[in-house]
Each structure stands twice: as C-alpha cells, then as structure tokens.
C-alpha cells in the first residue's frame, strides 16, 4: 500500500508556555512507495513520533491529508485504518499469553471479517512462525526476553495483515548485540510480508542499515529524503551531514576565495568556478589522505589503532568540534613524536555549506 502525506501539519498548544504553539510536524509532503521499508530519522523531539501517530490515526492533523493508496484516511479513526503499530515499550498486555496477545486484533474484527476460534489460532501460529516465537505461545510477556517480546509485538501488529506497519523506535529497548540481530530480522520479516513499513529511530546507523529510503527530520521539518547511501554521499545541508555517519563529520570554519577552499591560511581544495563566500567545510572522517606534502595541516593528538583502520585524532584552529577524527588505512605509519600531520582531501568526501543558511554550496 502506497502512503501519501500531503502538507501534513500538526500544531500543539505548548505545555510549558501558555498561548505558545508548538509545530510538531510542519508541512510534511511525501509519497511512500508500496512495499518499502522507510526509516524516519531525526534527533529526539523532531516530530517523528508525531508523524507516526498521525499515520496511525492516534493523532489528527491540524492541516493536510493522508492517503493509503487512493483512499483518504485523514479523518478515519485508528481502528478503521488497518495499520499495525509496534510501540517502543511493545505495550504487550501483561495479563494475556503470547497467543492471546497476538489474537487480540483478530477478536476485534466484526461483520464478514469475523473469524472462528480455530481460524484465529491458525492465523496466530502463522505469524508466530514468521517471527519465530511459535514455541512460546503459552508464555506471559514478563516470562520472555526483550527480543522475544519485540517479536510478539511485531506478530500482533502483523496478524490482521495491516496495510501499513508502523514501528516506533523498535530496537531502542534491546541491548547492542540483540539490536543488530533484530534489525536483520526486521528486514527479513518486511521482505517476506511485503508490507509497507515505516519505522522511527534516532539511530542513524540503524536507519541506514536496513531502510530502502530514509527521511531525515528536524524540528518538524523534512530535511532530506533519499536512499541511505545517497543521503550520506550528498547531504543537502549541514544538519543532515552532521546527523549521518559515525564518527561524525568534521566541520571547519572556512571560506571560498579565488576558486579555492581555505581553512585558516591553507588552501586545502580546488573548487573552480565557485563564487567567494564564508562557508562551513564538512569533511567525512574517511576523506583524509595522509601525505607528507599534503595541503591541510593539523596538530597531531593521538593515533587510535582499530585493526584494519587507524583513527588519527588531531586538532586545528578552525575546527568546530573538540577534535578532528580522520580514519585512514593502517598501512600509514605515524611516528610517536610526530607533532604535525598533513593531509590531502578526497573531493567527494568534502561538503561545503553556506555560513548563514547552512545549505549546501
């Protein structure tokens, strides 16, 4: 099912300041293609959970429309939308067994869709097998691990074959190892069912690794939509560039003068044809090439060996963060007493943003 969001806007009255209005979602327009896995990514408080609630129908938009396929569902209550929702804390009913939890949405069906007990049981077993919890059907939620509870929540959301599956921070309550494993699981389940899935996360790595498309949000506004690699390679503004990638992109105060990028008093890169202006220079950690005759000089701090790669931590007067992190091949050697280190830059790993608007130059 294709999901279309048109000018979606949600305004709340501020809880802290009387009379003030908070815009949680600001004119969000996008068409989510059928059968894709979409990562809704942004820092906390950026409106991504509100967007999810708007799609599920738990909140009604102040402005704009939501369409599932060709059907306008803007004013359809949640129970009429046919969405499956997985909560961050799973919201499994603690007094019901796994099977009773999974069957719950089926028992609510009315009219023609009403199912017999046997049919419900079979259906529940089917999804339970899909998420591999069919051995645990008699357990209560508290008798299960976080990962297992998560699967039950997904099974419950999938059992009535939703038109859209919504996941709110589905992995954040799991430990690191389980998170990695579950995210692959999620991808597999989504592929097998082919249901259009939107999941909310603040973890860029999580979003990048499994999404077909990611939507980067900040303060209620959509900043960029695209394939994960495309967004990483071509961020439209400084926020997106900083939000994606670990370690974070290195940002320097700089300027464009005479077709060259200047950081301090060094011309680090040629950018012929660009007009002169003050800029932010963003350099991905993997964008540095150590070179004795390099054009960019930094003060060496330390070298962290990570096996295959080496992380060079250094500083520069023009940097904005605490330090610069350059990830280079471990074939490069550094002397322990080395005070300075020189780099050449990979042009496609360097992004230039306007100093004022922070938009890409």
């Amino acid at each position: 099912m294709k999901v279309v969001l048109e000018n979606l806007t949600k305004r709340f009255a501020s809880r802290h300041v009387k009379g003030e209005v908070v815009v949680a979602v600001d004119h969000f327009s996008f068409e989510i293609p059928d059968g894709q896995l979409i990562g809704l990514l942004g820092p906390s408080g950026c409106g991504k959970s509100t967007t999810l609630n708007l799609i599920s129908g738990l909140e009604t938009p102040t402005e704009g429309r939501i369409l599932f396929g060709d059907e306008d569902v803007t004013n359809v209550p949640p129970e009429g939308r046919g969405v499956g929702l997985v909560f961050q804390n799973y919201a499994l009913y603690p007094h019901l067994t796994v099977e009773e939890n999974i069957i719950f949405p089926l028992e609510n069906l009315k009219g023609e869709k009403k199912m017999t007990k046997q049919a419900m049981h079979e259906k529940a077993m089917e999804v339970a097998r899909l998420v591999q919890i069919d051995q645990l059907m008699e357990r209560k939620p508290k008798e299960m691990s976080g990962g297992q509870q998560q699967r039950v929540a997904i099974a419950r959301a999938l059992v009535k074959i939703p038109r859209v599956l919504l996941l709110d921070e589905p992995l954040s309550n799991l430990d690191a190892r389980l998170r990695l494993q579950t995210r692959e699981e999620l991808r597999r389940i989504q592929r097998e069912t082919g249901v259009t899935t939107i999941f909310v996360t603040h973890d860029q790595e999580e979003a990048m690794s499994i999404s077909d498309l990611i939507i980067v949000m900040k303060a209620g506004k959509v900043h960029q939509i695209g394939k994960p690699q495309d967004v990483y390679d071509e961020p439209v503004n400084l926020f997106v560039a900083q939000f994606l990638g670990t370690p974070q992109i290195n940002v320097f105060e700089g300027a464009i003068r005479d077709g060259k990028v200047w950081i301090g008093n060094e011309a680090v890169l040629d950018v012929p044809g660009k007009e002169n202006r003050e800029i932010w220079v963003g350099i991905r950690p993997e964008g540095f090439i150590p070179d004795e005759n390099g054009r960019f000089t930094c003060r060496m701090d330390r070298v962290e060996v990570m096996g295959r790669d080496v992380s060079v931590v250094c500083t520069n007067e023009q940097m904005t963060g605490k330090s610069i992190r350059a990830i280079v091949s471990s074939e490069n050697t550094f002397r322990p007493d080395q005070k300075m280190v020189r780099f050449n830059l990979k042009p496609h790993k360097v992004f230039l943003f306007d100093r004022e608007s922070e938009e890409r130059v």
């Binding site: 738990l58 949640p78 929702l85 919201a91 009913y93 007094h95 719950f104 609510n108 009535k160």
Partner: protein, 294 residues
Amino acid sequence: MKEKNNLKAWLYLLPAILFLGVFMLYPLIDVLIYSVEENYASIARTYTGVGLGNFRKVLSDELFIQALKNTFILVIITVPVSTGLSLLIALGLSAIKPLKKAFQTIYFLPYVTNTLAVGLVFMILFDKTEYTRGLVNLLLGTDIDFIDGGYWTKMLVTCLYTVWIVMPFKILILTSALASVNQDYYKAARVDGASSARIFRKITLPMISPTVFYLIITGFIGAFKAYSDEVALFGTNLNAAGMNTIVGYVYDMLYSDTGGQYGNAAAAALILFAIVFTITYINLKFSRNKVQYM
C-alpha cells in the same frame, strides 16, 4: 556472629512487639477468655464455669439475630453498589479533562467530613418533623417516614448513607489505579480496533483488578464493622429503631443500661470475627484466578 545479628534484629523489633503485644495481642487473648467464662460478674470477677454458654446465649438472642440480619443486608447491598458506582465515577473522572481537579475534590469531600455531620445532613434530607416532610419527600412529592417508618425505608436510608460515605476513598484509589495504567495499552488496543467496551473488559479491568479486589475485601470488612453510621442516623438506641448491627450489639452488651455482659460481648465479637474471616477467605479463593498481579 549470627547470634549477635539475631539479637540486634529482635532489638529493632522490640518496640513494635511491645506495643502490639500490649494493645493487640493481650486484648485478643482476653476476649477469647471472656467468651468462654460463663456468667462472668465484672465486679466480683467470678464466673460459674467454662464452656460455650455465652455463644449459645448470644445466638438465641433475638436482638443479636436482628443485628446479624441488618449487618448482612447492609454488606450485601452496599459493597457491590459502592464499588461499582465508584468504578463508574472513577472512569468518568479519568476521561474528562476540564474541571477534573474540581470534580475530584467534590467527590472526595465526604471522606474528610465528620460522620455525625453527614448524619445530620441526612436527617435534614430524610427526616419528617411537625414542620416539614423532609427535603427528599418534598422533591419526590411523597410522604414517607424514612427515619421512623418501616424497616425497608430505614434500611434504604442506611444503605444510601453507607454507600455515600465509603465511595470517596474508593474513587480516590480507583482513579489513581486507572491513572497508573500505561496509556500505550489503550493506544495499541485502539489501533487494533477494539471497542471501548472491549478495552474496558479485556484491558482496563484486568489491569486494575488488584485494586478492585483490595477494595472489595476492605469494603466487606468495613461494612461488617458498621455502627457509627447507624448511630448518626437513628440515635444510640438502635434496638428500638430495629437497626442495630453486630458491632452495635457488642457495644450494647458492654455499655448500655443492661451492659456489663462481658462474656456475651466477647462471644458476639468472636462470631463477627469468624464471619469476616470466612468471607475474606472465600474472597481470596474466588479471586485467585480473576485477579491479575502484573
């Protein structure tokens, strides 16, 4: 080392043990002793024998049978009615947004109001005097003597009074129980298409079942111990009004004009204890698979 620790533990417990021993345990044992001492004379401190004579006497006393009947009727009517009504009101209170605090205060007022003051208000509402038929009669357009009339009209007033006086506490407890249910369960249920009735039955009720159960148990115990409410409504001579309760009977045995009958009072008190114990036991048994402790 272990011995020493034990000693320390007992030392910590000592104040509580002393207090409970003197004021709880000793009187309890004393009641047991009194109940089996036949024809105990309080001034001479003599008795004629040890046996179940006091129990026999109490159980064949018409006044006790009347008190027993009154208490049971009161319990059977007021506990379910007050718990049910409180649940409805608590649900209403948690659903509304504007003036929530104001309504919560109004519903809690009876709890902090003196029983006798409430009794006085009920008198004004229901009592018929030479000057007026009472507010309820005026409103209903009837002419019923609630306070000095027939048995069931008196019982009706008593039940109304009891329900009204016990509800605030129940509403308070239920409101907080409802508030402690994670909202995500409701959201999940709504997205899954559950109707309000089904959400209440399948989610809300199981989630607050320990609280409801607690209120039912304490409600039973409280209602079996009813006495002051009846005094507030009908005065101290409850036997004359035919509205005595078991606790009232115990009080009469001790302090009324015919008082000083310690043996009978102790026997009646123990019968009450046996009843409350049995009812609570049945409640516990019955609720074992109904109450969901999370």
